[in-house]
């Protein structure tokens, strides 16, 4: 590893591509609990244990990953890979963080598909599907909770009710509902007080 100095922070080291692949494959794929939990583990590995990026760079990657569409964890890994090794680092980190878990997901999906033909497994699967609906409700609550304040109650109720009405009554496509909600969000800014 070659020591380099990251901008605005402590000295960092430049890893080999194999090391980038190894760390992102191990910690990007084998951590349960979603993106935030995995980023917490990756922070320990690439900022604290091996100083590939410094605290400022971690903050930059994390902040920008929240502003990037799609899966935040993959955006974070790509950014961290790019800061350490440029485009090749970004490509390797993205592949290492997304490919193994995708292969596992396909294998498990194939098993679930086979199970669906078995009567007993079908009953068990229905229980799991009910849990999945519960998980979706929890995710909705988790996404809404951070914005729920008395000062924002009217705004959130308006967008929430409007979205449901547009989809169920007027059959507007979800992408149009999202774009309309974004326009409402821009025209009616959040009150943080």
């Amino acid at each position: 590893m070659i020591p380099v100095r990251g901008g605005g922070g402590t000295a960092t080291t430049r890893p080999r591509l194999g090391e980038v692949a190894s760390v992102f494959a191990r910690y990007g794929n084998l951590t349960f609990g979603g993106g935030s939990a995995t980023i917490g583990v990756l922070q320990r590995e690439i900022e604290t244990k091996r100083p590939w990026i410094n605290r400022d760079q971690f903050r930059l990657c994390y902040g920008l990953s929240r502003l990037t569409p799609g899966t935040n964890l993959l955006a974070f890994c790509t950014a961290a890979g790019w800061l350490t090794r440029g485009w090749s680092g970004a490509a390797v980190a993205l592949l290492a963080a997304s490919l193994p878990c995708s292969v596992i997901a396909v294998a498990v999906t194939a098993v679930f598909e086979l199970w669906a033909r078995n009567q007993w497994a079908k009953v068990a699967l229905h229980g799991a599907l009910a849990a999945a609906v519960g998980i979706i409700f929890y995710t909705c609550w988790h996404l809404t909770r951070s914005s729920l304040r008395r000062s924002n109650a009217l705004r959130i109720t308006f967008v929430w009710t409007g979205s449901i009405m547009l989809q169920t009554v007027f059959k507007v496509a979800p992408i149009r509902v999202l774009l309309l909600a974004a326009l409402v969000g821009a025209a009616w800014p959040r009150q943080d007080s």
Partner: protein
């Protein structure tokens, strides 16, 4: 189903949303309601798979792709999940260089601290004025 169309449909869902299951309404509308290549039960199973395997929650599009078109569909799903991540490199090049400005740097830092605080990983020393 045509793999390129499947990729574009899933990409439309992932590139217009900012968290794991937020793309679900678009995926359901396109693949269950309009094109009928997926059932509600398969969509639910894809979410169960994502929650029982390690990795990001957005991984469910890979499982959706598999249900819609087998292994090639899963590859389309993986590409649709991974493609938006490359946008961050453009953001890093555009915004990263401007974070030397004290106000821009402090804003990104404070936004990061708010998120880390929710995770319990932020110390008071991490906050900057701005």
């Amino acid at each position: 189903m045509n793999i390129l169309v499947l990729y574009l449909v899933l990409l439309k869902a992932t590139v217009t949303t900012f968290s794991g299951l937020a793309s679900l309404p678009i995926v359901r509308d396109e693949l269950v309601s309009q094109r009928h290549v997926l059932t509600d039960e398969q969509l639910n199973t894809a979410i169960v798979v994502t929650r029982t395997t390690p990795g990001p929650i957005g991984l469910y599009v890979v499982s959706v792709g598999y249900f819609a078109a087998g292994v090639p569909g899963a590859i389309a799903g993986w590409l649709a999940m991974s493609t938006p991540a490359l946008i961050i490199v453009v953001l890093l090049r555009l915004i990263g260089s401007r974070t030397e400005h004290p106000l821009a740097g402090a804003r990104i830092s404070n936004r990061t601290c708010c998120d880390l605080h929710c995770r319990g990983d932020c110390s008071p020393d991490d906050h900057q004025e701005g």
